[in-house]
């Protein structure tokens, strides 16, 4: 096990942000925490990377206890935070070099390793450029590269693509997925984007400090039902009759549309179409609807996932930058 968490909790005054959670992440697994803002995702991440002491329970990361062996935990994890933590006044290479210094990477391998991680995220040709000239996606990729420099066993990504446009998000993910394939790293991530959660081997859905469900994306979706195939035909009554005979149970109608539920929507649809066509019923229109993680989330928490709101600090920072008051 790479990460073992037992009854982990954290309170801030009277507010219990994390209410005794348990989970395990296996070696080489990509594990995602899915939940709205304020669910306890960031608090959990902060405890795992030893920035916050747990109020109760315990967490073992890469074999080290987050409370008693924080130095070893830190050395064994790479972290990419939600907000950028690069220095824009330094070049990409300098940012990486300083990281090597504070992580005590052996001197003789630094140069080679910097080159290696830059290649890995496709920024090799920009290494001499100031980070402030980078786009949001490039900065993110550079942070991923930096997180890998000291050869961590686990990579922790806190909302790795928040604030990026959809195209850039996809490209960042492309790199992360290749990286996973190439290195076999364990990845622990948080997100509130449902489509990103799909990349995970397993997902923990967290809401108001508790894990409300934990399974593979497919299993979670199965929880709330099966795929639904909807077919519109020329003769709806005969279609229902035929379909019911073929299925062995009565098919149902929904606004003149034949609806059939089943495990594998696409192949079920194909079979139904063939069957109806053979019975001389013209199929006009077919749709297959698979349950989404959105549905799962809605089902489990009774809430649609809320969009991330901009924190007060970021807004202040943006305002000051806008007025040109901030000179660094």
């Amino acid at each position: 096990m790479t990460i073992q968490v037992e009854r982990l909790s954290r309170s801030f005054g009277t507010l219990q942000a994390v209410k005794g959670i348990d989970f395990e992440v296996g070696k080489g697994e990509t594990f995602g925490f899915l939940g709205p803002n304020g669910a306890g995702k960031s608090t959990t991440i902060k405890m795992l990377c030893t920035l916050l002491r747990p109020s109760g329970g315990r967490a073992i990361v890469n074999g080290y206890d987050v409370e008693r062996e924080s130095g070893l935990v830190r050395q064994s994890i790479g972290i990419v935070f939600q907000d950028p933590t690069l220095d824009g006044y330094l070049t990409a290479e300098q940012n990486l070099h300083y990281h090597c210094m504070i992580y005590h990477t052996p001197r003789h391998v630094r140069e080679a390793r910097i080159r290696e991680v830059l290649q890995l995220v496709g920024l090799d040709d920009r290494r001499k450029d100031l980070v402030m000239t980078f786009s949001g996606g490039m900065k993110r990729r550079l942070e991923v590269a930096r997180g890998l420099l000291h050869q961590p066993q686990t990579l922790i990504l806190d909302e790795p693509t928040v604030g990026l446009d959809p195209q850039t998000r996809r490209s960042v993910w492309e790199y992360v997925l290749r990286l996973r394939e190439a290195t076999g790293l364990t990845i622990f991530m948080t997100t509130h984007y449902m489509d990103e959660a799909e990349y995970c081997d397993r997902i923990g859905i967290i809401d108001i400090g508790r894990i409300v469900a934990l399974d593979t994306p497919a299993a979670l979706k199965r929880m709330i039902g099966q795929d639904v195939v909807r077919i519109r035909t020329s003769d709806i009554e005969r279609a229902v009759e035929e379909a019911s005979r073929w299925l062995g149970y009565p098919a149902h109608l929904e606004d003149d549309v034949l609806c059939v539920e089943g495990e594998n929507g696409q192949s079920l649809a194909a079979k139904l179409i063939r069957h109806l066509t053979l019975a001389d019923i013209e199929v006009r229109d077919v749709s297959v609807q698979a349950p989404s993680l959105d549905d799962v989330f809605l089902h489990l928490t009774g809430n649609a996932i809320r969009e991330e709101s901009v924190g007060a600090k970021e807004r202040l920072g943006a305002r000051l930058r806008g007025h040109g008051r901030l000179r660094r």
Partner: protein, 270 residues
């Protein structure tokens, strides 16, 4: 895109025990180097510091020269020149220390806070970085010594460099304590008005301590910059030179106290 298959396979067993470090020299070097790199990259700010100091030198030194009787045989521009040097130090030192707030707002601090390094690394690195920047700027100001009829010899330059660096350490350390507890930018403007300027003006930089009313003498005695001004002036002009060891000792003790406070109040979380 991926051209090469990376060899960073992160399966490497870490030593189970690692000696706990109290002082992480390489980590401190990293913070210091970063400050130096940024200092160099923003060297236009250097110019601002020099111009500000020259404005004060000309306005006070030459503006008041005829109106003020010589102080212990020193003309006013000679007397005030070390004060201007001290001003350069306090402005630069506090500004450097305050950059911690910027680092916090813009995230870089987090990179340091999650690194496997003790809390002292950030504080000590920042203190050395701010002190080095201040000393460099103050050393550049020495070039203008002849304008104020202050003679430079290799010995007094060496002496004054040491005095400047120790003064800079003390003021950066003070600035770090202030910055460690400041959370927003609003406080930054007030810092100049409520801390930097009073510390500068009530330090003996622009008037001699002797002859000041006794309540003011108390203020001067608790102001760390007073000791810095004294030491720099002693080294440059021989005025109060006998007190230099005491001045430097006070500054060193003050620095150590400030650094300890800063390390104690820095929280683990960002």
């Amino acid at each position: 895109m991926l051209e090469t298959q990376p060899s960073i396979v992160p399966v490497r067993a870490l030593p189970k025990t690692r000696p706990a470090r109290l002082i992480d020299v390489e980590g401190i070097a990293m913070i210091w180097l970063r400050d130096m790199t940024r200092f160099w990259r923003q060297r236009s700010r250097l110019l601002g510091g020099i111009v500000r100091a020259l404005v004060w030198l000309f306005a006070l030194g030459f503006g008041l020269r005829r109106s003020i009787v010589p102080i212990s045989g020193l003309s006013y521009e000679q007397f005030v020149f070390p004060g201007i040097i001290a001003m350069t130090i306090i402005f630069t030192a506090l500004q450097s220390a305050i950059s911690i707030i910027w680092d916090r707002e813009f995230g870089f601090l987090k990179e340091v806070l999650v690194a496997p390094t003790p809390r002292s690394t950030l504080i000590l690195g920042k203190c050395l970085g701010g002190a080095t920047c201040s000393t460099i700027l103050a050393a550049i100001m020495l070039v203008f010594a002849p304008i104020a009829s202050v003679a430079l010899t290799p010995l007094n330059v060496l002496e004054v460099l040491i005095a400047m660096f120790i003064t800079a350490l003390a003021l950066t350390a003070l600035g770090i304590v202030i910055a460690a507890r400041m959370t927003d930018f609003e406080g930054f403007g007030t810092l100049q008005n409520f801390i930097t300027l009073p510390l500068y003006l009530f330090s003996g930089a622009v008037f001699p301590i002797r002859g000041a009313p006794s309540w003011l003498q108390v203020v001067l005695l608790v102001n760390p910059l007073t000791y810095g001004v004294n030491a720099i002036r002693g080294a440059l002009l021989g005025y109060g030179a006998a007190e230099i060891p005491l001045d430097l000792a006070v500054l060193v003790v003050f620095t150590l106290i400030m650094l300890s406070i800063a390390i104690l109040i820095t929280r683990r979380e960002a």
